[in-house]
């Protein structure tokens, strides 16, 4: 059973695309895309167990720290760059977005939505930093140093003149309820954006 955001990405990726998966984890997505859609590409990862799992699956995985950029990938090296649940852990998410759209014309990004109602309630009512399924860490040991909301990310794309091709939300293992489609910033636990280099 694939995570909700991975399932959505799986549907969005075109047949035979060359994909770069940033923070590819154990290679679940790339393996499924290779099997179902003839996708080729590479995953970048620094987690040791993730790298080993990718190798055992036959997923091309390169040990590389995303904070060091993507300089080893040429402009338009691939069709699509995917980054799931890693944006919030990077030093400069805005620069990474530029890099992703240099390496490919389009990218898919997912991240935990800090404005999800449960997160708001945690902070607003209880007065603690939110801890949830999508934000499982305590404030002192979290890798998530740039938390943002559905709306924040839309703003960033607008400021950069990028085109949001599609957007969706995930809640836990499921696709969003109708409420999250209408009010994604409040009811979406996971934000899923498909962004292209140019408007229109």
């Amino acid at each position: 059973m694939m995570r909700a955001d991975l399932k959505r990405i799986h549907d969005w990726v075109p047949e035979g695309a060359r994909v770069l998966d940033l923070g590819c984890g154990d290679g679940t997505l790339l393996a499924a895309l290779a099997r179902d859609k003839g996708v080729t590409g590479y995953g970048l990862e620094i987690d040791h167990e993730g790298i080993t799992a990718c190798l055992a699956r036959g997923v091309n995985v390169i040990e590389q720290n995303l904070d060091e950029g993507l300089a080893n990938f040429e402009d338009d090296a691939c069709d699509l760059v995917v980054m799931t649940q890693a944006l919030q852990a990077l030093r400069r998410p805005d620069r990474m977005l530029d890099e992703m759209l240099r390496v490919a014309g389009e990218c898919i990004i997912t991240f935990p939505n800090f404005a999800y109602w449960r997160h708001r309630a945690y902070l607003g009512l209880r007065g603690y930093m939110p801890v949830s399924r999508s934000l499982p860490h305590a404030w002192y040991d979290t890798p998530n140093i740039h938390l943002s909301t559905f709306n924040d990310f839309e703003h960033l794309c607008r400021d950069k003149g990028l085109m949001i091709v599609d957007r969706a939300v995930g809640i836990g293992d499921h696709e969003g309820h109708w409420t999250s489609r209408w009010w994604p910033n409040l009811f979406g636990e996971i934000a899923i954006f498909r962004v292209a280099r140019h408007r229109g």
Partner: protein
């Protein structure tokens, strides 16, 4: 009689293949006839689809795993990674490990007889290149009935041979494992090799390579060469933690005899090597290292040079390797990516410098084993019962 470890391939004995068809070499000369000494571990399956070729490094040889006798103190040089249940699992794979031409462990080399003159080749043995070795290895594969290797695997200079395999015989290699290697030597690498060569060549017992005719051996030169080489194989940290500034005796003795433990260690390494390795072979092997540069024929564009390669690569480097540092492996990985090839890369944390590729280390073994497991699956090899 002691019992051999259960995860060992056990007792092994080398075999020799003789070749009468001349081998044209990169230097323009031809080797009229030659022998290759090799060992095999495991069993070649009926489809001949489970063969793995091991390529050795500068001072390596064909004895990669197992024991030559019950009394042999140490197993083959890569026993940590070859054997039942190990990364290169001999319950699944048939492993071929060959001593390269120009070597001094049984394959034709400077100490062998030149069939034309009837005398030992000595320094007249033709200069070998990585490409020449790969051609000779392909002939051995023909002889053994192996059309295509499930994987060709090697560390350091061995890794360069693997890379050359993907370029010279892309149809005969299904997977490439390149460990602690580099797509070409740096000026500093060549400089260290040159110091080693000068140490040998300036030894009065060297006689321009004709030491056999004079009944001598350039032991001092070879010892120095090995001492210099050995420093580049270890990391500063590894040397520091192993020896520090420890002294052999309690006090300084204000002389030039061995005082520090590290001196004692280097001298011991040099002495052992100088009695077991051939000087002309050492010279020739260091030149083969220096010459290797597949990108040179493509104006330095490594990605262009890699165009013929057609198999998945695993590239592995070690964090404290300063002989062929991680960025040299990354250079190869990046070129493979630019060329659109299938490649995976892992940089293993190890304190052991370049030598780490020879040693067991849990993450190194996990990475290596995971890749080889996938190789076995892709070749349709049965899982172990």
């Amino acid at each position: 009689m002691t019992e051999l470890p259960r995860d060992s391939v056990g007792l092994v004995s080398p075999e020799k293949a003789h070749f009468d068809d001349p081998l044209a070499l990169a230097c323009g000369r031809t080797l009229p006839a030659y022998d290759l000494v090799y060992e095999t571990y495991g069993t070649l399956n009926a489809e001949c689809s489970n063969a793995i070729l091991i390529c050795h490094a500068l001072s390596g040889h064909h004895h990669a795993a197992g024991y030559h006798s019950q009394d042999e103190r140490k197993p083959g040089w890569w026993d940590a990674h070859i054997g039942p249940g190990k990364s290169i699992d001999t319950d699944r794979f048939f492993v071929v490990s060959v001593n390269n031409l120009g070597g001094c462990h049984g394959s034709t080399g400077p100490a062998s007889l030149n069939p034309v003159t009837g005398e030992a080749w000595g320094p007249d043995f033709p200069m070998m290149t990585v490409g020449d070795w790969v051609h000779s290895q392909a002939r051995l594969a023909d002889r053994l009935g192996i059309e295509r290797f499930a994987a060709v695997v090697g560390g350091s200079l061995g890794g360069m041979q693997v890379l050359q395999w993907t370029l010279s015989y892309p149809g005969r290699i299904a997977n490439a494992v390149v460990i602690a290697a580099t797509p070409k030597l740096s000026a500093q690498n060549i400089a260290f090799n040159e110091v080693a060569r000068q140490a040998i060549r300036s030894d009065p017992d060297f006689f321009d390579g004709h030491y056999a005719d004079h009944g001598t051996l350039p032991r001092r030169g070879l010892k120095l060469a090995r001492m210099v080489g050995h420093i580049t194989y270890l990391s500063e940290d590894a040397m520091g933690s192993k020896f520090g500034r420890d002294l052999r005796s309690e006090d300084l003795n204000f002389g030039y005899d061995v005082e520090f433990q590290v001196e004692s260690y280097l001298r011991y390494q040099g002495d052992t090597f100088s009695t077991s390795f051939d000087a002309n072979t050492y010279l020739l092997m260091t030149k083969a290292l220096d010459y290797f540069d597949p990108a040179a024929a493509h104006g330095g564009d490594l990605a262009a040079a890699l165009a013929p390669a057609d198999c998945p690569f695993l590239v592995v480097s070690f964090s404290t390797d300063w002989r062929f540092p991680p960025w040299r492996s990354k250079e190869l990985v990046n070129a493979l990516v630019r060329a659109g090839k299938s490649v995976s890369y892992a940089n293993i944390d190890s304190p052991h410098g370049h030598d780490a590729f020879l040693l067991p280390e849990p993450r190194y073994q996990a990475v290596f084993a995971a890749f080889m497991q996938r190789v076995a699956r892709d070749q349709g090899l049965e899982d172990r019962p």
